[in-house]
């Protein structure tokens, strides 16, 4: 049997991992296991165009997968990948180096890439299941789109990027939207107070209502229908009438299937700086589950949920894995893995695009621009700092040149001294 690398997780991370293995010269077997019943696809349009495009008529999954914005194109020339969709890995035996599958079979591996991603966190409240939505998968988007009809009263719980994008899309669909958020502003941590306030105004100008500094404590269902919500109860005793609730309260890493392995599963998969999982030779993590130290910032292992991470981590994971399997990539391990995370969010007609991190920052301030009339066209640049050092920078509105400048600023500010390994 030729050597086999198993990739658990068939979305963007799994796809890029398989591609990188072939690009780096792996000619052994590659088996990718994906729990979803589709080939991998792009999630970002699911909160935007997939919800708002008027041209779509009750789309089925196949319709969405055919869209150029949703389809995930494979790297040309990548061959010989075995894709298993609609199946899950349910266990890992580190001693025998096998993955247990949901159909009872075992899949032996020489190398293992763990890329199982995230699932939406749910509110710890019972009832109203027919009215409650999350947004992660194609099926979630289809279901949510169908429910977002003109006049429907929507409560979006959580004012992070997903919540705010869904709120904007729901308004575009003619819904009546209230966003409920425990903090004082939407997207407060990633944007900083000034920009968060400006984005809130941007939403409010378009009809979105915010209930800030509030937590959802109850879901009031119909007296004759426990499956349908009529109102959302808040911690101050008030109620917001709503018949559709979108739970946008964060994500949970899909690592439960690894319980019993002895691995630290407290927050994704704990990795070293080369993405090796807790020192296990031949086992690496990619994408949303990978908790690793990024020397750009510090030595604290962290997960980063940005779209850029699956591709960036797949490159390093392939290098690490092939070295562990005795097929080192020439020059591959010669540099430190220090990706610069990037993200973007489109809400109504404003793009926020950012680089670096806002985590563990002690100062956030505007670097360029202000919020007087016309700010979206002129652009505003915000910087996140730690101990006086710029570690994150984002631009709201503005031009590509401003975004490039923001990226350069963070890249230079977080540059690490080259380390010979």
């Amino acid at each position: 049997m030729s050597a086999r690398i198993v990739v658990v997780g068939g979305s963007l991370g799994g796809q890029r991992s398989a591609e990188q293995l072939r690009a780096k010269g792996w000619d052994g077997e590659i088996v990718v296991i994906g729990a979803e019943h589709h080939p991998p696809y792009q999630r970002p349009p699911l909160s935007k165009a997939v919800l708002t495009d008027e041209g779509l008529r009750e789309p089925a999954a196949a319709d969405l997968l055919a869209r150029p914005d949703v389809a995930l194109r494979q790297r040309p020339g990548v061959e010989g990948i075995t894709w298993i969709t609609g199946h899950s890995a349910v266990g890992l035996d580190l001693a025998s180096r096998t993955v247990a599958m949901d159909d009872g079979s075992d899949l032996a591996f020489d190398g293992l890439i763990l890329a199982t991603g995230l699932r939406p966190r749910r509110l710890a409240l019972e009832g109203g299941t027919a009215s409650r939505h999350v947004l992660r998968t194609l099926e979630d988007a289809i279901s949510l789109r169908a429910a977002l009809q003109p006049g429907v009263r929507v409560a979006v719980v959580g004012a992070g990027f997903i919540g705010c994008e869904v709120a904007a899309s729901a308004v575009a669909r003619g819904c009546d939207v209230t966003v409920i958020e425990p903090l004082a502003q939407p997207m407060l941590a990633p944007l900083g107070a000034r920009l968060a306030r400006a984005m809130r105004q941007h939403h409010e100008d378009r009809g979105v209502r915010f209930s800030l500094n509030r937590v959802v404590t109850a879901l009031r269902t119909g007296s004759d229908d426990r499956d349908r919500i009529e109102a959302v109860g808040l911690d101050d005793g008030s109620e917001i009438p709503a018949t559709l609730v979108v739970e946008a309260v964060g994500s949970v890493p899909n690592v439960d299937w690894l319980s019993g392995t002895g691995l630290d599963l407290s927050n994704g998969l704990l990795c070293d700086g080369s993405l090796r999982v807790e020192g296990h030779q031949g086992i690496v993590a990619v994408g949303d589950v990978a908790r690793f130290p990024n020397p750009r910032f510090d030595d604290v292992p962290r997960r980063v949920e940005h779209w850029s991470m699956p591709a960036d981590t797949a490159v390093q994971a392939a290098v690490t894995l092939m070295a562990d399997l005795g097929r080192p990539v020439p020059g591959g391990t010669g540099h430190v893995f220090a990706p610069l995370p990037s993200f973007w969010s489109d809400q109504f007609d404003v793009r926020v695009q950012g680089y670096g991190t806002s985590v563990a920052c002690d100062e956030t301030r505007i670097l360029e621009g202000d919020f007087s009339n016309g700010w979206k066209k002129r652009g505003v640049t915000v910087g996140h700092h730690r101990n006086g050092r710029l570690v994150g920078c984002l631009v709201a509105g503005g031009t590509p040149a401003q975004r490039m400048k923001a990226r350069r600023l963070v890249e230079e500010s977080t540059m690490i001294k080259a380390v010979a390994l």
Partner: protein
């Protein structure tokens, strides 16, 4: 190696500019411009640019 960009998909995010600055750039109007037949030595950078484009607007043909 042939590089094309679908300008209808391009959202001017600029990830390509950082992956392959010899090939991709923004002009003074904030529109992406690119080298259609870049040097073969830039192959890895161009492939990376296509991978990191959030809207998959970059198409690369290798001979």
């Amino acid at each position: 190696m042939k590089v094309t960009v679908d300008t209808k998909l391009c959202a001017e995010m600029g990830q390509c500019v950082f992956s392959a600055p010899e090939v991709f750039a923004f002009n003074d109007n904030g529109k992406l411009v690119w080298e259609s037949n870049p040097d073969l030595g830039l192959r890895d950078a161009v492939d990376e640019a296509a991978d990191v484009c959030p809207v998959q607007a970059i198409f690369v043909e290798h001979d």
